[in-house]
Subunit: 318 residues, 2 copies
Amino acid sequence: MSAEKAPQLLALDWGTTSLRAFLVTADGTAVERLSAPRGILQLKDGDFAADYEEIAGDWLARYPQLPAIACGMIGSRQGWREAPYAEAPAGLAELAKGLVSVAGRNGHRLAIVPGVVYRAAAAPPDVMRGEETQMLGALADADPAGPTVFVLPGTHSKWAIAEAGRIVWFATFMTGELYAVLKAESILGRLMTGEGEDTRSFRLGLARAADASPAAGALLHKLFSARSLALFDELPATGIASYLSGLLIGSEIDEALAAVSARLGLRPLCVTLIGEAALSRLYREALGARGIEGRLAEPDATARGLLAIAQAAGLLGW
Amino acid sequence: MSAEKAPQLLALDWGTTSLRAFLVTADGTAVERLSAPRGILQLKDGDFAADYEEIAGDWLARYPQLPAIACGMIGSRQGWREAPYAEAPAGLAELAKGLVSVAGRNGHRLAIVPGVVYRAAAAPPDVMRGEETQMLGALADADPAGPTVFVLPGTHSKWAIAEAGRIVWFATFMTGELYAVLKAESILGRLMTGEGEDTRSFRLGLARAADASPAAGALLHKLFSARSLALFDELPATGIASYLSGLLIGSEIDEALAAVSARLGLRPLCVTLIGEAALSRLYREALGARGIEGRLAEPDATARGLLAIAQAAGLLGW
């Protein structure tokens, strides 16, 4: 390993159900990585220090002076130590200022990145933990002059607007979780057969979501169409899951675009997608059906975001 | 029992999870009744004739000439015999025409009421089984000159418009099922504590649903507010279930009112509620918050609807 490629940071993305860890060089490259199903909900007795040692112990033995930083639910009330939310607008400086620190075994310190809260008058607050770091990592790659609209699909999808290096607005959509519970527990799930994607049914769901006429109703009514279309063989049982996916993703996009457009005063023509590959592909298609380009962020945005926050906090010593 | 009060009809409301049966007099009074957890999904081997005998055998022995009629999922493809959907507009004549008949043990015939399908151009079909009978029963009590808007809250809530004794339009909303699966399986359910209603939180959910500004998003975003408000102690853990209930019921009402108003060309000031008492009370409050009176239908609308259909079909012999 050349000197330029020597790791400068141990970076952890420590979420609810999984943990990913990276050895990151000064240019943001992840030269080593590991992942484990050791999210904060998986820990038996909440002994985060023991888990941290088990995950990162080898690296810490090899690089005892390496600074370490983590983002995600590890900083929540249920995590290792609560890192209180930074208020939006929030960028590298605000997140660096909000770092909290815990001591692992052998005295290794681990800095924990705060989440971000967005507050608006007369509306409930919204929160994120981990996504702020992904977005700032993507901005470290390419921060355009104008605003950037981010879409982070998942269990709780996030849409966000960044301007001049700071997250100025965001909103959460329970799309992925709704899909999961409806598939697992509802009459729609009981009607589903087969595995895999059905492109035609997905597009049918997208189109149903897009019908904004009063007669078409909104999501509570449209969900039932997955049942009624199947009843009359207008939707194959093997396509119900994809139809539901298209209906929910399309509904999220329409909700979010209205909010983003109201905030920006214009409709975005391009958004930056950060997420798992298969899901990002579905969102790209759904966005394309609305005339919007979904650009995929470079991989490992979290590692680069953690590096940027650590740099802003002076953790790297240079 | 006087002659006037002699039962004229054995009437069954035979649904997915439960069965209710009535001995009905000529004026629509249910003089005897029973209910059992014997919905079509509870039957072990689909031997509906055996179940019917077990439920109604005593009555049929006492009144061997009594005509019998059933509505609900017993007429679905998974029921005793499929009674194909009647097309809306549908009233007593259309339902009577669509009756199918099965033979119980001892040769007793049972007539089964068809469900109703509503088809509109460029929209998925919608369906009901059982609700059509409840509504026609309520219309038998009071059929005003103008249109009647019905609301039947439940797992799959129905909104419908009846004109001149026929159901001309309806739509289904998956409100109750969404509430159940989110309560049982989602992060929102895991955050809930305590039992019982919390009126303040219910009203907070109603108000959140009513915010139609683009920035407020729609249901996928609003659902997350149950989590974020609880996180900042703006919603007690004991109130999350009621908040979710208010959010979902309020969203259903707003979706449905838009569709009903588009159909009628005016916003209804009064709707007729048919449903379980506690749920109807919540809907009355939610409707009231939108300036709409929710009138409760007389109990046993199903029994009177079945009587009216049996009369229209000439089953009563007079």
